[in-house]
């Protein structure tokens, strides 16, 4: 058995190989001990359940019926935490309950969570979900099976996928492989790797046969990390503090010197 390297990991989600079987969803619920959903019918095109990620479903296969003319097509997409290289959720959390680890996963320490939901607002991919019915609610999201990675295993979903739609390995290898697949079969893939550059790069690289917007993915995201947007304001906090304090002190002194002069008059 080869010893797994300590380089950052990534996953390829190749939707051209996905048959929508949802072994990944069940394996994820099994590994993370999530309760079953109580559903009545379906919540999407075809057999999709549930409609969205939630506190009990850390990954979701979306069913998308895309008919071009007379030709039907059924394309499957997958939603899960992208484990961004510079996660907005981790930057927004006031108690550092979310952290990016060297191996790749953005892990959640529930002990630190105060349930403020700032990460939910911050995440560009709408990933963290909340258990509003709980008396001690916290956020829930894919863990990238960080505990399995530490033991040298692959994430549960990658382990059970029957068709190899989910490939897992060192990020640099996964990027190379994703590019190779597109180059080798250009008619099969659209020439885009979702997650490669989005918000500064993520650990999940999606490939698709149709534009991502058609299969429920969030598109139009900037290529720069989201935390940059708050960072440029927050990093000047100490400077602004000093500046303002000094300014106000100076103003106060000037203004009241003038009023004292007025009171006492010219000596």
């Amino acid at each position: 058995m080869t010893v797994p390297s300590a380089k950052p990991k990534a996953m390829i989600q190749d939707n051209t190989r996905c048959i929508g079987c949802r072994a990944c969803m069940v394996a994820c619920k099994s590994w993370n001990d999530r309760p079953a959903d109580h559903t009545e019918f379906f919540a999407g095109d075809g057999y999709q359940n549930p409609r969205d990620l939630d506190a009990n479903n850390y990954t979701l296969i979306t069913f998308n019926e895309i008919t071009t003319g007379a030709r039907p097509n059924w394309v499957f997409g997958r939603q899960l935490c992208m484990h961004c290289d510079q996660p907005a959720c981790a930057s927004a959390c006031p108690t550092t309950a979310l952290t990016k680890t060297p191996l790749g996963p953005v892990v959640f320490n529930e002990w630190r969570c105060i349930g403020c939901r700032a990460c939910m607002q911050a995440c560009p991919f709408l990933i963290p979900k909340y258990d509003y019915e709980s008396l001690a609610p916290k956020i829930h999201k894919c863990t990238f099976c960080a505990d399995r990675l530490e033991a040298g295993l692959k994430p549960a979903c990658a382990t059970v996928c029957p068709t190899g739609a989910i490939t897992f390995g060192d990020r640099e290898d996964m990027v190379t492989e994703a590019k190779r697949r597109i180059a080798a079969a250009p008619g099969t893939y659209i020439p885009e790797i979702y997650g490669l550059d989005e918000v500064g790069g993520t650990s999940v690289l999606h490939l698709s046969s149709v534009p991502f917007a058609q299969i429920g993915y969030i598109t139009g995201l900037p290529k720069t990390p989201m935390p940059d947007l708050t960072h440029r304001w927050l990093r000047v906090t100490p400077h602004v503090f000093g500046l303002l304090y000094g300014l106000f002190a100076a103003l106060t002194w000037i203004v009241h010197r003038r009023s004292r002069r007025q009171e006492h008059g010219p000596t």
Partner: protein, 801 residues
């Protein structure tokens, strides 16, 4: 399968005929993904666009029940465009054989049909024989009565326009399929043909398979890497179950069950043992007597002796069955309904939901005196007496439910579609008092034996049964018995000695003199003195690198991975496709390399199809009950007239009409074609999967898939409750409205088709109406398999008139 799952990676074209491996064999999709990566085409032919279609290169829709028209057109296409692998067809099929004057075909019927008996006199289809009694041949294939010319004439009626007018396939897609698939006629290209219940569960199901076999033989695709006629079996170990002879008409190893008229072993063996058609045919099954006797020795041990016909009298014999219709499932259910069955052992099956005409079946269960169910959950059959709408007080059946261990809680082997027997060990102890089937059967057998020690009618077959698998029954002992051992010291065919008690190394060493025993001759060679070969897990591939993995577990027969592989080489032993060779003759070592060859004889010594009396692939098959060539007939319930002939549906199909449950509908009341199928998330009748909360959460309720046009006409929206009815009953389910199910342009008009997954019943944590309440008791002529895959129905929104 003639080939196996991993072999798919060698195909240049994969054609999936009405099957849905993405949903029903998802693990196997791995191989199809890899073959696609290598540039293979995937063609998917199915009534609707499903999860398999989503990864196919070409999707061609076809109306349920019209496979023979579709493939018949492909056969004509191949012949017209001369896409025939000439050497293969000439040498390895019966294309050149000349058929006798008794055979003819006209107006939809072959010669020799008896309308009253609904059967053929197959003697009319015999070959023309020469002086030695061997079939005459014309190697030029020009003789007007040779099989090839008769085949050509028969399928000349299946032009593309006629075919598309029957199947409803858009002509452009149809021709594309024909073109791509028949390109595999070239010796260096192979096409694999995958099918499943969508092929088999029809009144002409066996003829469906025949049509695939004919096309594959014409293209030279049988016996080669990436080829084959490959059934994707419906359950993970059904291959194992048929191997062990669990069907009424076969004994283990596909030996034939004796019939009442077989008064002695000799007369039985004479009847069933095939005779070689000519000297070039090895006719391996001439060895059948050795396997039968070895089987009898396995079952009755020292009580099976030469002087008592090896206890042949102890074997049950088949009579004419219920109402002369045999003993298969449809006959059994009708016999139950008629009150002729006192008790039923129902092991790992749920016929109340899974059997065709399920209302009839449940009514039949009411008539049993007792029933023993062994299963993991109390499913619909186990709880039939408390089903909705019945009063348990009125049902006298005594039901015993024996909790069974699941597949991971017991040791044993599972045989997949590729004949690969993989041994597995117990991962967990069974919970509570759940027991493996072996333990349950062992306990039953011991108790029955004890009872028969005291008295009983004709007790000897039970008393003398050789039954010892250990105090705690050990599946390895069963496996060893299946392989068989020598009962006395013998000298084997290669001259070496084998001591009594040693495992037999292969079925070539089995004998008909009582010196060997073997519980199943095709498993002989799987558990030898080397050990349990099915337990091997060495993934090394063979030198020919075509994914044989010969040391991974064990395949029958004799670990041969690709059957009929002698057809992959010419008469000199040279592979037709040197890049993907299966076997090849090494002239120096005078031995075959690669896969286990179909017989170790030197090249050219014998014809490759050694298991057939003819020795060659059968384009023309006079053994079939309903015709030597496939012919398109409409399903028994059909919305259109048969466009090919005046005979509407299969003239030999078994159509039950004796009970109130056996009603049939016509297109005026039931204008919509219906089919049944499965989804990935549920398994069979849902007895297990509808008790798994995660799976139940994914696909909770029974539903019907309806096309958007039909839905609009009926005012049905996605998620509405609808009533689906056939002549046999009606059910209420959710409507899933989709673009993926489009109507078929057939007989000049649009015919709608809808589909019902059949996983639901009234037991379990999620329940739903039973789809099989709508299917009919119609059986295939050869096998009596029910025609569950096509029937007529109507659909209405709930609450509408």
């Amino acid at each position: 399968m003639t080939n196996h799952w991993v072999d798919m990676v060698n195909a240049d074209v994969v054609l999936i005929m009405g099957g849905n491996p993405a949903e029903d064999h998802p693990i196997a999709m791995n191989w199809l993904t890899r073959t696609k990566e290598r540039g293979a085409y995937i063609l998917h032919i199915d009534p609707r666009f499903n999860r398999t279609s989503s990864i196919a290169d070409v999707f061609a829709k076809l109306r349920s029940g019209t496979d023979i028209a579709f493939v018949g057109g492909m056969i004509k296409y191949a012949i017209d465009h001369d896409r025939i692998q000439q050497e293969y067809v000439r040498e390895y099929t019966n294309a050149s054989w000349i058929v006798g004057d008794g055979y003819s075909f006209a107006d939809g019927l072959f010669a020799g049909f008896d309308p009253a008996a609904r059967s053929y006199d197959r003697a009319r289809w015999a070959y023309a024989r020469d002086a030695q009694g061997h079939p005459r041949r014309d190697p030029t294939l020009k003789h007007p009565r040779c099989v090839f010319q008769l085949l050509k004439a028969h399928f000349s009626r299946y032009d593309a326009d006629t075919v598309c007018g029957i199947t409803g396939t858009p002509k452009e897609a149809y021709l594309r399929v024909c073109d791509i698939y028949t390109s595999t006629f070239a010796p260096d290209r192979a096409g694999t043909w995958l099918y499943a219940m969508g092929t088999a569960q029809h009144s002409h199901g066996t003829q469906n398979v025949r049509s695939y076999a004919i096309l594959q033989l014409l293209l030279g695709n049988v016996g080669v890497a990436g080829g084959g006629v490959n059934a994707m079996r419906g359950e993970s170990n059904v291959q194992g179950s048929t191997d062990q002879g669990l069907n009424n008409d076969i004994l283990p190893g596909y030996l034939r069950t004796p019939v009442e008229a077989d008064l002695s072993l000799a007369s039985y063996l004479e009847r069933v043992t095939p005779v070689a058609a000519n000297p070039q045919s090895l006719n391996w099954l001439r060895n059948m007597p050795k396997y039968v006797v070895s089987l009898l020795k396995a079952w009755w041990g020292e009580h099976a002796r030469p002087d008592n016909d090896f206890a042949f009298a102890y074997l049950p014999k088949l009579g004419r069955g219920f109402q002369g219709q045999g003993y298969a499932f449809l006959a059994l259910t009708h016999a139950m309904l008629a009150g002729e069955v006192k008790g039923l052992f129902c092991f790992g099956q749920n016929p109340a939901v899974g059997g065709a005409n399920a209302r009839l079946i449940r009514a039949g269960l009411d008539k049993l005196d007792w029933m023993v169910v062994a299963d993991l959950f109390e499913h619909e059959t186990a709880g039939f007496w408390k089903r909705p709408g019945v009063d348990p007080a009125k049902i006298p059946t005594e039901v015993f439910v024996l909790p069974a261990a699941s597949a991971v809680e017991k040791e044993g082997s599972i045989v997949n579609s590729g004949r690969l027997a993989q041994w597995r060990y117990r991962a967990l102890k069974p919970i509570g008092d759940c027991r493996p089937d072996l333990d349950i059967l062992d306990g039953l057998a011991q108790a029955i034996k004890r009872a028969y020690e005291k008295d009983g009618v004709f007790p000897e077959p039970i008393r003398h049964l050789a039954w010892d698998y250990g105090h705690e029954p050990d599946p390895q002992r069963v496996a060893r018995e299946l392989n068989g051992r020598f009962l006395v010291d013998v000298t084997q065919s290669d001259g070496t000695r084998a001591a009594a008690g040693k495992q037999v190394p292969g079925f070539a060493q089995l004998r008909d003199d009582g010196s060997t025993m073997s519980g199943n001759w095709i498993y002989c060679g799987g558990y030898t003195e080397e050990g349990n070969l099915a337990a091997r897990r060495d993934a090394t591939d063979a030198p020919n690198g075509i994914g044989l993995h010969p040391k991974w577990a064990w395949a029958w027969p004799m670990n041969r991975r690709i059957l009929y592989n002698r057809a992959s080489v010419n008469r000199k032993g040279e592979p037709f496709n040197p890049r993907k060779w299966v076997i090849r003759w090494n002239a120096e070592t005078k031995a075959w390399e690669g896969d286990v060859p179909d017989g170790a004889m030197a090249p050219g010594e014998t014809n490759p199809f050694i298991m057939l009396a003819s020795g060659v692939g059968q384009l023309y098959a006079p053994e079939m009950v309903d015709g030597p060539f496939p012919e398109h007939y409409e399903p028994v319930e059909s919305p259109v007239r048969n466009a090919m002939s005046k005979v509407q549906s299969s003239p030999c199909a078994q159509v039950w009409q004796s009970t109130e449950f056996d009603r049939y509908g016509t297109a005026d009341a039931f204008p919509i074609v219906a089919t049944t199928y499965r989804v990935s998330e549920h398994w069979q009748t849902g007895a297990m999967s509808r008790n798994m909360p995660w799976l139940a959460g994914l696909v909770p309720s029974a539903f019907v898939e309806i096309g958007t046009a039909l839905a609009k006409r009926e005012g049905i929206k996605n998620g509405d409750r609808v009533i689906v009815s056939s002549a046999r009953g009606s059910i209420e389910v959710y409507a899933l409205v989709t673009e993926r199910f489009q109507p078929f342009f057939v007989d000049g008009r649009l015919i709608d088709e809808i589909g019902l997954p059949w996983h639901w019943g009234y037991a379990g944590i999620v329940t739903g109406d039973i789809a099989n309440d709508l299917t009919a008791s119609v059986g295939d002529a050869n096998t009596q398999i029910p025609e569950s895959k096509v029937f007529l129905c109507r659909v209405q929104k709930k609450g509408s008139a």
